[in-house]
Subunit: 453 residues, 2 copies
Amino acid sequence: MEQRKVVLADNEIPRQWYNILSDMPSPMSPPLHPGTGKPVGPDDLAPVFPMNLIEQEVATERWIDIPDPILEKLLLYRPTPLCRAMNFEKDLGAPVRIYYKYEGGSPPGSHKPNTAIAQAYYNKAFGIKRLATETGAGQWGSALSMACAMFGLGCRVFMVRISYDQKPYRRLMMATWGAECVASPSERTQAGRKILAENPNSPGSLGIAISEAIEDAVPDPDARYSLGSVLNHVLLHQTIIGLEAQKQLAQIGEYPDVVMGCAGGGSNFAGVSFPFVRDKIHGKNISVVAAEPTSCPTMTRGPFAYDFGDTAMTTPLLPMHTLGHGFVPEPIHAGGLRYHGMAPIVSHLVKEGIVEARAYDQIETFKAGVNWARTEGVIPAPETNHVIAAVVQEAERAKQEGKEKVILFNFSGHGIIDLSAYDAFLSGKLTQHHLSDEEIAQALKSIENLPKP
Amino acid sequence: MEQRKVVLADNEIPRQWYNILSDMPSPMSPPLHPGTGKPVGPDDLAPVFPMNLIEQEVATERWIDIPDPILEKLLLYRPTPLCRAMNFEKDLGAPVRIYYKYEGGSPPGSHKPNTAIAQAYYNKAFGIKRLATETGAGQWGSALSMACAMFGLGCRVFMVRISYDQKPYRRLMMATWGAECVASPSERTQAGRKILAENPNSPGSLGIAISEAIEDAVPDPDARYSLGSVLNHVLLHQTIIGLEAQKQLAQIGEYPDVVMGCAGGGSNFAGVSFPFVRDKIHGKNISVVAAEPTSCPTMTRGPFAYDFGDTAMTTPLLPMHTLGHGFVPEPIHAGGLRYHGMAPIVSHLVKEGIVEARAYDQIETFKAGVNWARTEGVIPAPETNHVIAAVVQEAERAKQEGKEKVILFNFSGHGIIDLSAYDAFLSGKLTQHHLSDEEIAQALKSIENLPKP
């Protein structure tokens, strides 16, 4: 009987996060204040985030201690197992050993609580009483709701109206954890009222929801805003995934040839890969691959440029791969991957050729995901299906080349709240989404007049 | 930082199931053939179950080897962690240490695959091509669907119509794993057609669905029927839960004063408790508690009697605590606990005073469950909330008595497919269900003329 997974004991959980800013091979462009065009300073961000997280956002030391109260909550579901996908391997018939970090076992079902718990703790420590955030598909909103319940913080989540109506289970998870979930656009904010005045039936968007959450938090001195991806400190909190994986692989004498993750804002991809990217920067010969959807091909078809993080243009300008903040992705089912931009650090690594981006169509991702469920058991989140499609492609290449390969990927979450997407796939209702060059050129008009990095 | 959980490595998984029939303190009454009134023999059951499982049903040796192909699939999610509920303990402020086996991490989200995988394997080994089963809330149907996908068996699930309509996610899970899910009553069987002729809008019942599944399987020589609880071999397969717990508790030098589980058909309760019941039979001074709903109080208010396993009276007569096969429980949300009977072995242990049964109202169970979610993270299944309410009660007793206690319970499953029940609770729409003596007397009329054990 072969070993199928490597588990770590509680006392083997990493005590520090890895900060990749300490190892970047070239300097990154700073975020800019949209009014002045100058780099934003900590004071500009003080009404939005607590100062301890702002400091973490710009920290440059390599290792950052994880406070004990955060570790105690992480231990509720961490360390997560490193599993070997033996049944899936057999089905592929390729000369590969496939390992994955299973992040679907957390209470909300994804990697998101890794940063939600940390952010709730730092806000609490700074004296904040309440957090406001936005959520699209709902993974992030439910993770932050749980974290706030655990630290005794209030939590208000602006959820994109169409998801609010289509995914009642996500909303109910947040309610069970004691959070208030508001359909966005709402009557609670000026931004929301403006949209509703123009279109009372607006389905909402992540951009609108971000604007509402920021507007909700900023005037209240007891409240702050919280974001579940993109920012440096969010990616930092996720590195615990890759650090655990390194320990686990070392225990069985393995090291990956390829490290993979799906990427929407970039946080789960960063989490699994950055500790290995460090090795690559220092000379290790490995591939690091980010999988994105062809319907929102931020890294594979968007330029590296300055852009706003939200549609309403309220955030600082971030240097990143982007399709333009005016880009409206098709309503594909992998809601978590429908973001016009990409984390600046991930974007920088793509620009430098250290990280390779590949795009996958949703039909092939669901094919891979169904095959996964029928061999390995867990039904993957639609987002996770993208990295599984990338793994299938990599295995096929290994077969063609006749070359043995060790693949590590991050299984970011399970999909049992997203089963209507599987229903659409199994009944043949899913369609392919490839953007034309004209559509992309059109979307990029929204960043034409912005500064260049 | 205190240790929060004990994990076992793959090679520490138990290699044998524990068969409590070897340790029973008094002989059990045999199942009877309803026609002849004589004990059923293996041949009577041969059209329904494969012979290797029938042999296991009546096996008396203490330890039964788990075949390697079963172990390999169990390793996808087992051994499960033994966790300590430190945050919940702190909230209760009682002198208790609460440990739980977390069975919600399996791909379908409950303990059910422990036996689904075993049953699929034995049927496959016996040359069977297809299984038929029924499901109420859907936990069992989805677990068997997954297991059949892994062993290349066909799977048809008759799902109670009202759940089929109310819980589309469960149906979609089964479809994703390649199973066929049919709303029951259906046009596929004589039993179904009969009901539909009388009432085209019948909401269905577990009794009808069982009849349909048996009728579907029996005439097809390549098919067999599969049951997810009640039977001896099903309880046997679940003992891996308690066997792992014993190893894990021994590693930290603990032994429980109280072992608890919720009980519908009895399988998850049996799974966690039987290895400890063995110790109790051999002199250990512990309490073993089964938690059931006040709306379906099989053990606390039903007699120990012979009764049919299904409403349509097609099964052998089983000696068990029962409310009568004619009993129709109120539509409380803990669908998995709405069964008129109880596993014969569990019933026998209750009758012998070895297992204590307690009933809890759904309001107090949801209160306990919400408090659990906000402290420990995972949102429990409504069934699991019953044992959490029992833990709360036990902790309060310990506080009153000023006595330290170690509690072990089985966390049978998560509740994120059952969130509408939480919605009803949080919005004050759940009501209490206590049966009157008249209602129970009325229900018991259906077993008046049956033989007595």
